[in-house]
């Protein structure tokens, strides 16, 4: 099945609401009732192929759907577990937090409150973790983004951490691997977060001049300011299958041009076809692929 087809679950929900005749006939005899009675968190529905999957089976398969190869979003800690050698990740600047430069308030809440909530929800202090790690015995500086922390958006801390990672990779002459997963620049920090795009890109320019290897892994979703800065500046760009990669979000584009977007628009496959990626690699092959690239690029 195509990994690109992301059926909105709304269809399924629509079914639930009106059990009309013609809708029922589409459903090929599969009752919806058990869905309500199912114990929470034991099963997941794959957004790619709509199959019900046993959660632990999916987790064993590196959070990839065994039926249709849909890659689920995973949090930073899991990503590091899959990518780095066992227990090799040593985090740096783990307690760097933002001091809310704008004093941002929206609706009845504040940016600071939102951060507190997301720290609790995601278990990390910011949307990026950086550190030193090993991939199949090769030392790297690893930067991983956390999708559950304010959509993995880039604020001051993310920019500062990535710059620190670049500096460290430069000082220690190690390759830099960044796993991007972000909704873009963080609007709660206004132009400060916009500036992080310029900042990280400038730091990467230095890294490039110093001859460092920068491998960028784009995962679902990589959009906005992150795509328009460090995510597309890698020496080597790798993407996971079916990931959403683009500048403007699909909804924004659809609203602006008022026509339906083509199938598979802004997916990894679309980007590869248009020449913006080096390769699409399945999650299970990511480790060996990165290790191989590092070997090739050794001087």
């Amino acid at each position: 099945m195509p990994t690109t087809a992301k059926q909105p679950p709304a269809q399924v929900r629509g079914l639930n609401n009106n059990m009309g005749k013609e809708v029922k006939s589409k459903w090929n005899g599969f009752s919806l009732k058990p869905r309500k009675e199912m114990p929470e968190g034991l099963w997941v529905r794959c957004p790619g192929c709509e199959h019900m999957l046993y959660k632990s089976a999916v987790e064993k398969n590196l959070n990839v759907c065994p039926e249709c190869n849909h890659h689920f979003r995973i949090e930073a800690a899991t990503r590091i577990k899959y990518l780095a050698d066992e227990d090799s990740f040593q985090e740096i600047l783990g307690d760097l937090t933002t001091d809310d430069p704008l004093g941002f308030k929206f609706r009845d809440t504040t940016y600071k409150q939102r951060i507190k909530d997301d720290v609790k929800k995601s278990g990390v202090k910011e949307a990026m973790l950086i550190g030193k790690a090993f991939i199949k015995g090769r030392g790297i500086i690893l930067a991983v983004m956390e999708p559950n922390f304010l959509m993995g958006s880039m604020g001051f801390v993310v920019g500062e951490k990535l710059c620190a990672a670049i500096d460290m990779a430069m000082a220690e002459k190690l390759p830099l691997v960044a796993v991007c997963c972000s909704g873009g620049a963080r609007m709660h920090e206004g132009v400060v977060s916009l500036g992080q795009m310029a900042k990280t890109s400038a730091a990467l320019a230095k890294f490039d001049e110093a001859g460092g290897l920068y491998i960028c892994v784009l995962t679902d979703p990589t959009t906005g300011g992150v795509t328009a800065s460090f995510a597309t500046l890698g020496d080597c760009l790798i993407a996971e299958p079916g990931a959403l990669i683009g500048f403007a979000g699909p909804r924004t584009i659809a609203e602006t041009i008022k026509i339906e977007l083509p199938e598979g628009f802004q997916t990894s496959e679309f980007m590869l076809e248009h020449g913006f990626l080096d390769m699409i690699v399945n999650r299970r092959d990511l480790r060996s692929e990165i290790a191989r690239l590092i070997d090739y690029c050794q001087k």
Binding site: E86, D87, S88, Q90, I92, D99, P101, L102, F104, K105, F106, F134, G137, G139, F156, G159, E160, C163, M168, A171, E172, A185, M187, E189, G190, V191, V192, S193, L194, G195, Q196, M197, A198, K199, S201, A202, A203, A205, D208, E209, G224, G225, T227, A228, S229, A231, T232, L233, G246, F247, A248, T252, I253, T256, I257, L261, F265, Q266, H274, F276
Partner: protein, 368 residues
């Protein structure tokens, strides 16, 4: 006679899309005074009575009123002024400020984006490369330059011309005025994000002085794509933001009509940006905004460019690039931290930096 007068009166209204002669909604009193003055002028021309003293009195009143309004505009009002249909656009700056302008077309890859104009010219006595975003005046022009929303080829064109300028040591001046990079299917297919990213990557390395000025709307990545340089200035009533207030309101307030609140929260006015240390200078606008006096606005911008270019040219190129890089790296660093880094004596700083490194190195991986 009277009929012709009304036609003439209507003409400026036709020129812009605002229904009440270019007045914004918060300028009600100014508009009233304007109509009163027009009425007096009409009467004096018809009846031959001299109302000049009266008109002068009204003018003085209008000036105080404008001063009052414009000295404390809200963020949303600033956004409205920045989007005013009569606000000077790139073409005005090219006409009034740049002598002997020679436009350079094409990105040598795909096409020639009309939303970003590049070309050589003289400002003062300096030869410069102008890179600017144009919104267009007439409807036809607006459509041609996509309402100021550049496509990837625009950014690639800008970079190509900037590299050309670098080769011959020509300083670069960029004039930013865009609602944002264009979100379209073609733009995505041709790599909007990648085009902007490459500009951000290359502009800090260009070995010529770069001055960036936000003259109207500074919309997000679209503005930043030509907005990395040694100096970033902003006109008094222009705005520069990470997202349009409408977009921010739609996401965070889940209601696009809350844009005024979003504008306030985003701190996108020149005053706020200067306070936060995100822009280097604020260029003042004439009374009542740039749209009331194009010449003064353009003159102020020209003065700033000439003065800044003189300063930047005194700096050695290596130092210039060093400073530019340092400036970029300090974006978002809190003022207290900045001050600490500045006031630390050179030796201490080196010492501190050296101390900082081993602590990082001590964390040896558990398993090799």
């Amino acid at each position: 006679m009277a009929e012709r007068d009304t036609i003439i009166d209507k003409m400026p209204n036709n020129k812009n899309s605002l229904s009440n002669g270019g007045h914004l909604e918060f300028e009600g009193k100014v508009a009233d005074l304007d109509s009163q003055m027009n009425e007096l002028r009409r009467l004096s021309s018809i009846k031959g009575i001299d109302y000049s003293a009266e008109i002068r009195r009204l003018q003085r009143q209008q000036v105080t009123e404008l001063k009052r309004i414009y000295s404390n505009l809200t963020a949303w009002q600033t956004v409205q002024v920045a989007r005013h249909p009569n606000r000077p656009l790139l073409s005005d700056y090219l006409d009034l400020m740049v002598k002997d302008f020679r436009e350079l077309h094409g990105d040598r890859c795909f096409g020639d984006d009309r939303a970003i104009i590049t070309g050589l010219g003289h400002i003062g006595r300096e030869r410069v490369l102008i890179v600017g975003q144009d919104k267009g005046k007439s409807t036809k022009q607006k459509i041609a330059c996509n309402f100021g929303c550049p496509n990837p080829e625009g950014y690639r064109k800008a970079l190509a011309k900037m590299k050309f300028a670098e080769k011959f040591g020509i300083p670069i001046v960029t004039l930013i005025d865009t609602p944002g990079a264009y979100p379209g299917i073609g733009a995505e297919e041709r790599g909007q994000a990648q085009a902007i990213a490459v500009n951000l990557n290359q502009m800090p390395r260009l070995r010529v002085p770069i001055i960036c000025i936000v003259i109207g709307e500074g919309g997000s990545g679209g503005a930043l794509g030509i907005g990395v340089g040694d100096r970033l200035a902003i006109l008094e009533f222009a705005y520069y933001s990470v997202i349009s207030p409408e977009g921010c309101a739609a996401i965070l307030w889940r209601d696009g009509s809350q844009a005024p609140k979003a504008a306030e929260a985003l701190k996108l006015t020149s005053k706020d940006l200067y306070k936060l240390g995100l822009v280097d200078a604020v260029i003042s606008e004439p009374l009542g905004g740039a749209h009331r006096n194009l010449h003064d606005t353009v003159y102020n911008v020209e003065k700033y460019i000439v003065k800044t270019l003189r300063d930047l040219k005194r700096t050695k190129l290596d130092n210039l690039l060093d400073n530019r890089y340092k400036k970029l790296r300090l974006i978002g660093v809190s003022p207290a931290e900045k001050l600490r880094r500045k006031t630390l004596a050179g030796k201490e700083r080196v010492k501190e930096a050296l101390e900082a490194i081993p602590t990082k190195r001590k964390r040896v991986p558990a398993k090799v």
